[in-house]
């Protein structure tokens, strides 16, 4: 009797934890597979590669986690990253061969202007979502286009190479064996985790995502929370964009296009609920590693590079199924 009850308890617990357990198991399986399939995968140097490869996505994914926890979406992250990266280059003195009519300023000024730019773009998202009432899906779709437009106008099809020294260091240099960009990503993830888990603002985010009406009736200023997460998302994207430009060594149009899908995938594959209120930075970190290991590992085994794209799509689909399924489990358990 008590034995069967324990078993039911464990089953229920597992069901409730599905969104946390499934991504972790996926990660272990992937690591085990590539470890077995390739000699070059499980090396310290490759770990450094993986960490560096997921850093830009990781910084974007921090802000996106905030947004998705509120049951909203931000499709403009990659576009804002690109625009911010180009803005910081635009206000930096470029090589004579670059013939864009840019305005060279001191490094700190360029960085401040770039931060202000991504903040402003996020504020426009927030304004459209909370004050006008445009669904975030459509609002940020428009912002995606606006960001692309800003990029196009500033560089006019050209490529800028120079960024302020601070950005150059953080984006492409290392502290000992650890690249600075990995340290920045880790800091962002850490701060994001602390904010979500240990602050009042974080609690309000979970409550707004869990039951928006109840949050409203509990005296939570839902509009302010939604505005804040849209701005946080844009600023994270902006920082990722600046470091990304340094990391790539150039600032140009459409440079970040793959990062939209990557960052959304990281959050969702990690198990943060698309319906809001559940998940967190811990999930996002696992999601980042799943994607990072997958992308990197596929290069180490002998596989058709065009098949990689399909495999990523299938992994994302599987994650979505688990995500929705986990939501249902959780609701059933709670009912």
């Amino acid at each position: 009797m008590s034995d069967s009850r324990t078993r039911i308890g464990v089953t229920n617990w597992l069901r409730g934890q599905l969104r946390n357990v499934a991504p972790f198991v996926t990660l272990i399986v992937l690591v085990a597979f590539f470890w077995a399939a390739s000699d070059s995968f499980a090396t310290l140097g490759n770990l450094q590669n993986i960490l560096t490869q997921i850093s830009v996505t990781g910084i974007i994914a921090v802000g996106l986690t905030f947004v998705i926890l509120c049951a909203e979406i931000d499709l403009s992250v990659a576009s804002i990253a690109n625009a911010t990266g180009i803005v910081v280059a635009y206000f930096t003195a470029q090589d004579a061969s670059v013939t864009i009519a840019n305005i060279p300023l001191a490094g700190w000024a360029a960085i401040l202007i770039a931060l202000a730019a991504c903040f402003a773009l996020g504020a426009v998202n927030a304004f459209g979502l909370t004050l006008i009432g445009i669904p975030s899906f459509i609002m940020t779709l428009a912002m995606l286009q606006i960001g692309a437009g800003i990029c196009a106008l500033l560089v006019r099809g050209q490529i800028a190479y120079t960024v302020p020294p601070l950005i150059l260091t953080l984006g492409s240099r290392s502290l000992g064996p650890v690249p600075w960009i990995v340290i920045v990503a880790a800091l962002f993830l850490l701060v994001g985790h602390i904010v979500l888990t240990y602050t009042r603002f974080g609690r309000y985010i979970y409550m707004t995502g869990g039951n928006r009406e109840a949050a409203e009736y509990s005296g939570v200023n839902v509009r302010a929370i939604l505005s804040a997460v849209m701005i946080i998302s844009a600023v994270c994207s902006g920082v990722a964009g600046m470091l990304g430009v340094a990391y790539f060594g150039s600032a140009q149009q459409n440079e970040f296009d793959t990062y939209l899908l990557d960052s959304i995938s990281a959050v969702v594959v990690g198990g943060t609920s698309l319906f809001g209120g559940q998940g967190g930075i811990g999930n996002t970190i696992i999601g980042l590693f799943v994607l990072g290991v997958l992308n990197n590992g596929l290069d180490h085994v002998n596989i058709d590079s065009f098949l990689k794209i399909l495999i990523r799509g299938l992994i994302l689909l599987a994650a979505l199924i688990i995500n929705v399924y986990a939501q249902r489990m959780r609701t059933v358990t709670a009912a």
Binding site: R200, G210, E216, A334
Partner: protein
Amino acid sequence: MSDPTQPGLLALSGITKAFGGVTALGGVDFFLAAGEIHGLVGENGAGKSTLMKIIAGVHTDYQGEMRLDGRPVRLASPRDARTRGIGMVHQELSIVPDLSVAENVHLGVQPLQRLGLIDWRAMRRSAAAHLANLGIDVDLRARMGDLSLGLQQLVEVARVLFSGARIIILDEPTSALAPPEIERLFGLLRRLRESGKSLIFISHFLDDVLSVCDRLTVFRNGHAVATETCARIDKRWIIDRMIGTGHQELEESYLADIPLRSRPGAKDVLRVDNLSRTGAYRDVSMSVRAGEVLGIYGFLGSGQLELARTLFGVLRADRGSIALDGRVARLSSTSRARRAGIAFLPESRKMMLFGTEPVFKNVTIAILGRIGRLWLRPASERWIADGHVKHLHIRPPDVARLLGTLSGGNQQKVALAKWLTHLPRVLILSEPTRGMDVGAKDDVVRIVRNLRDQGIAILVVSTEPETVLSLADRILVMKKGRVVREFADEPVSKDRLLEAA
């Protein structure tokens, strides 16, 4: 007119329907004659809606027999009911606001040309003929959503008729209408009666029922307790039968006069002056005093629920002012209202609670700012929640449990606990005892009295007379958006409340 000994157009006998062990209808007989308007009255939960849903084919698993034109029928679905000529006009109209009047009349039965395209000219022609026939004067090309509610209702009736109905069920058709619109609707209903249609008129507004119906049936506790010709009875007669006399349980016996004890000397905490919101309430002025429970009673749609939401910053008023402790309060958001010291408990638990979060997070959500400015203090949260769980006898006494795993009554207590840690200046309760058993209701009365005695100004809004009678020290009655009566320092009873509404 009708003869009750005849089986009539529609005859139901011995209808019994239970929802999971709770009997909603216990052997109801009901006759509808051709060419009559038949009123259905009774309190919420008396069984009117259940019976109507059986007639409209929504509930199909019931016991008893239903005869249409003398032949037994068993409706399979609402669609089946429609094809047999039974139509329903819901309180929430099923119009499409963005389509034209003509399209709404033809909803679901558009005339087609060859190629399957809509024949607009035929549609407009037939809609015009149909509406003219019914004496409804309205622009066919007007957008439905731009019409007044009264006109929308007339078009909705026309639509139901157009789809071939000979029996039309109208659910609370007058609750949102102004007097001239009501007269226009009644004119239409009478013309329909002359042309041989039968109408069932469900309403809380007894004056409306008496003025338009030929006969009426009173429901109480799942039984049809009386059917009578309207010309022979008055409002008093109906109320007596709705409430029942004598052998009722104590809990329902608010028939005797209850003395109210208002506190005229106490200070006004919340004052409202000439507050109006289009479509909800108009020119409401009132005040709630410290240490007093003010009850606002009215039927559904009378505006008291919207008024309560306005006072918590969920809805905004178009005109008028709200003052808290004598100072004008700008309640532009719920968080402002909360910080101003106003607490609100909505009528549904779902609106208030987080099912997939643990109990303690549900309890502390409204007071996080008082526990710590920036950082959460989970230990304090648990400790506070633990105190409430013990004090309110919440079962099981485990604050880490997911809220959704608790029973309904215990969830309700968690919702209340939310506002008890830091006492508000004003506590607004919407339908605080709805769906509760007697024991839980007593708990609520005890808690509310206790809070009142600590000097909190409490506002209780409800559509159930028992709720305000059991809690309030002073009662306002709202009707169609206006305050129509105040009971203070005088005996009041359920039938007096009903009479005023």
